[in-house]
Symmetry: C2
Subunit: 555 residues, 2 copies
């Protein structure tokens, strides 16, 4: 069934993509008005076909960290491929621009596509750093400019989410992670994007069914408190029977579970009067409906006095009929403590009833969890196997936006530089390539920005890497391996590479983080990874800076 499922989902994935593609809100009008007024002003000034180069990059890693996962590329490429104003778009633009604008401009706009754009980009899922161009957009000024806002929208949140997810993944180690954030996400698509990029960043699945359908992501879920509270007493279950897994006559499952509960009260030292009947009715009905998928929310009343014993009774009844329960979910309280209590209960039952798998039933936790909660749970010790994570993950509560910018670095072969009082905000001019230099151990040593006219650094050959702004900071590096980061992804109106599956991108994130030294990845006071410029680029930048420096001021 798994291969059948896969086939179905992949087909479906494609159908959905093309369906969503046609009507997606990712379209040329999803932009700031000033891009369109600038487009007109460029056109009017006769500059629209000037050859421009723009870099898309960020200046600071998010979440007080020292790395970022680049994501959103696939959506950027699909946007470029489809870029075209519809008739109704042109009609709308006419209404919002001044009435004196020439029809000729609208005619021009209506034929405009991204076919003359070359897009170079880092591969999706790669770990990246401040000032490294993630995208380099080359082509006619007018169209390159018109792409700005949409590309930023597509890269900013995707990269922020993927980075956030990767941080949770590092904190959680081998534990399972599920994204449960749809209800608190920023809009329906905020939720959908969160599911996608959480998966890329290293999550195991999502609760979001539409994300599962569109992106072929595993979906997970149990039941809510309302399911439990919808049962008050035993006789609310109309169908009490369950067929044993191995076949035979239907058995009164509820009675079986009630019987096990009688035996368990003494083992667990609780009073039967404290244990909720409604909860057992709810568990039993759920197990009858989904005997192969029984995962129970145990904190509706009292985890220790009711939830765990009702769960164990139901799970033992399932076991009697040849089914294995999956485990429990904890959604409130002291998760470290309660998970260890639950594990102790499970091990006790495993021993009493000689059912080894019972000791290893899954314990999932899902109460307002963030990266710090996981780190703190690790420190205290806990028995949790998986986390369901919502609000903090999908809204990126610690830093809800990544500050990518889109800056012109060259026009008609002439460099462009944006100066600023703040050195961090000075742009590195000219068309550039980016290389990642690796050491003998396989770890990434440094990123090197060069002018595109320079020869690429070579394996085993000494290369001077300089701090872009501090003259004294420079070092010779002899790389064991050199990786070119910016790759041609879009040319002649077409996407140059096969679109990757999310699983492939997820794998790249994992590999990409593996080649990073641990001190760069740690949560507390991580070491910054170095992004350098070549000697040639250093002089190019500083000569231009000097030529553009204001007169009469110490710059």
């Amino acid at each position: 069934m798994s291969s059948q499922l896969n086939h179905f989902v992949v087909q479906n994935h494609l159908n959905c993509w093309s369906k969503m593609g046609q009507n997606s809100i990712v379209q040329p009008l999803l932009t700031d008005l000033y891009q369109i007024t600038m487009a007109y002003a460029y056109w009017r000034s006769g500059k629209h076909e000037d050859r421009a180069v723009f870099d898309l990059f960020f200046r600071k890693n998010p979440f007080n960290g020292e790395f970022t996962i680049f994501a959103g590329l696939e959506e950027c490429l699909k946007f470029l491929e489809k870029f075209r104003y519809s008739e109704s778009d042109i009609e709308y633009i006419k209404q919002i621009l001044p009435s004196h604008i020439e029809q000729e401009f609208y005619d021009y706009l209506s034929t405009l596509t991204a076919k003359d754009i070359k897009l170079y980009a880092v591969q999706e899922g790669t770990v990246v750093f401040p000032r490294v161009p993630l995208l380099r957009v080359e082509g006619p000024l007018i169209i390159a400019q018109l792409l700005e806002t949409t590309l930023l929208t597509l890269v900013n949140y995707a990269s922020l989410m993927a980075t956030n997810a990767a941080r949770y993944r590092m904190a959680a180690g081998k534990l399972k992670l599920y994204e449960f954030g749809l209800r608190r996400a920023q809009g329906p698509d905020g939720g959908l994007s969160a599911s996608k990029y959480a998966y890329i960043g290293g999550f195991d699945g999502t609760s979001n069914v539409l994300a599962g359908k569109i992106f072929n992501i595993p979906v997970k879920g149990t039941h809510a408190h309302s399911y439990i509270t919808s049962f008050n007493k035993f006789d609310e279950i109309t169908h009490k029977e369950l067929l044993p897994a191995g076949g035979g006559q239907p058995i009164n499952f509820l009675e079986l579970a009630i019987g096990f509960r009688m035996k368990l009260v003494s083992i667990f030292n609780v009073l039967l009067s404290e244990v909720s009947d409604g909860e057992l009715a709810a568990f039993a009905s759920f197990a009858i409906a989904l005997p192969t998928n029984f995962m129970a929310l145990v904190d509706t009343y009292d985890v220790k006095k009711s939830g765990l014993i009702n769960f164990c009774a139901t799970a033992l009844a399932l076991n009697e009929l040849g089914y294995k329960a999956l485990g429990i979910r904890l959604d409130s309280g002291d998760l470290a403590y309660l998970s260890c209590i639950a594990r102790k209960y499970f091990q006790r039952v495993a021993q009493e009833y000689n059912i080894p798998y019972f000791g290893e039933l899954l314990i999932m936790a899902s109460n307002d969890i963030n990266e710090e909660t996981i780190l703190s749970l690790n420190e205290q010790g806990h028995c949790i196997d998986s986390f369901g994570i919502g609000t903090h993950l999908v809204t990126c509560q610690k830093q809800p936006a990544l500050g990518c910018v889109f800056k012109m670095v060259e026009l008609n072969g002439e460099p462009r530089i944006k100066l600023s009082q703040d050195v961090q905000k000075v742009t590195i001019p000219g068309k550039k390539d980016v290389y990642r230099l690796y050491g003998e151990s396989g770890a990434a040593l440094i990123d090197l920005l060069q002018r595109s006219t320079e020869d690429a650094p070579a394996d085993g050959r000494k290369v001077l890497c300089r701090h872009p702004f501090q003259e004294s900071k420079r070092a010779f590096v002899i790389p064991s391996k050199v990786e070119k980061l910016l790759i041609l992804q879009f040319d002649n109106g077409r996407i140059s590479h096969c679109v990757e599956t999310l699983q492939e991108v997820q794998q790249r994130v994992e590999n990409s983080l593996r080649i990073l030294r641990p001190d760069i990845k740690r949560t507390l006071n991580p070491t910054p990874y170095k992004v350098s410029v070549s000697d040639d680029l250093y002089h190019y930048l500083h000569t231009l800076w000097l030529a553009n420096a204001p007169i009469g001021e110490l710059s």
Copy 2:
């Protein structure tokens, strides 16, 4: 043209809605998987047609404030109206649920609609408070449960954004506010929703063109730094001429502006060598293209030494040809100081050249502004006329999620209560109505929750309002006016009221905030507004609480 524009936009609005409606990602699969597994378990237990009542509400106002604006209703209603699983949805659900599930269940799902749901809701744009049901959903348990996640997604972010925007509006008073956040929003639809709900909350417009097209919101924009840096020198403008507004021969506009700049250097006491020629070329080209919409970004080089003088030169040249410049945008630096300098320059030119409107040219600020920035600018004094607000507004940085929940309060006429160690988390059981009681001054005094079986409070008649959990807190209130907050909005598969325009909803936000005492709205230590329960509901709640209290513990 304005009425023509309106006509166009409204038509277009409708087209877009229906288009987006059909293919929107707001569809039944945009939910958590557990809703679907619960639906199956309800169906299997024969409980799916039990009659349920759910309340959607939040427990705490966002942003350390004491009020919230309810929004998202229109989208909820459209979702209900269209609710139906497609064939491909059913196929997908089959693949992710266990294989033993009966075909009969899928047949049932495929015919399921929301026609048996009654939705009562507060009107969109109303100010609301913790524990007040914003939506009351009544109907068959299975469908009410299946709506949960999507309704939460649609209400949570919409209400959070509208509230955030309303807070900016209160801080900014009469100044103009524009939403510029698309590039930093959480996904493309995060951006689109932000534009819509910022407008509802009191913004004057957005930079997001698609939001303008779909929602009929005014769109605004100038140009970016890249436009300025794309010009290095005068001869990069190929078309230097502009026709005077009143007709006649085209005039060399660039020369005219250069001439004015020569005169201005002495007035403003700057050196011509400090003023950027590229910037003037950019301004002039933009003015030639859009002479009726000239708004200039003046901080690319140096506001005081270059941007302002180049702007004034261009604006004077426009004035000479019969056009009026609009103003400037400041995107960096000390906004209070620079705006006052700019105002001083403008007034000086107004006087020197006897052009009164020059003294009142618009000054817009747009650098990383949040609610606190505006309050602090108010305190210092400034000369800003309008703000362009991005990241902080659209991501709701101060609190990126509102915690609405969806709780079952009644099943088959029996109340349901969710108990918790934390009194804040105890739900108020049963089907309820909500009344807002007004005092003589017209200010809202208190909200009153009653059992739906009780008579509505009446104008001028004494009513006992109790704190839901503290026995000693109670008071008699004699309302001058009573407003019923929960209104039937969806019944028999149809939306019961005409869909309102965003302008109408925006107006309701304004009116709704006006009836709130100022101390409830202030930023620092606001007074909580009281939400009370009737005496009947108080006893109903506490009797149930007692009946459900755990034995052997002090509850």
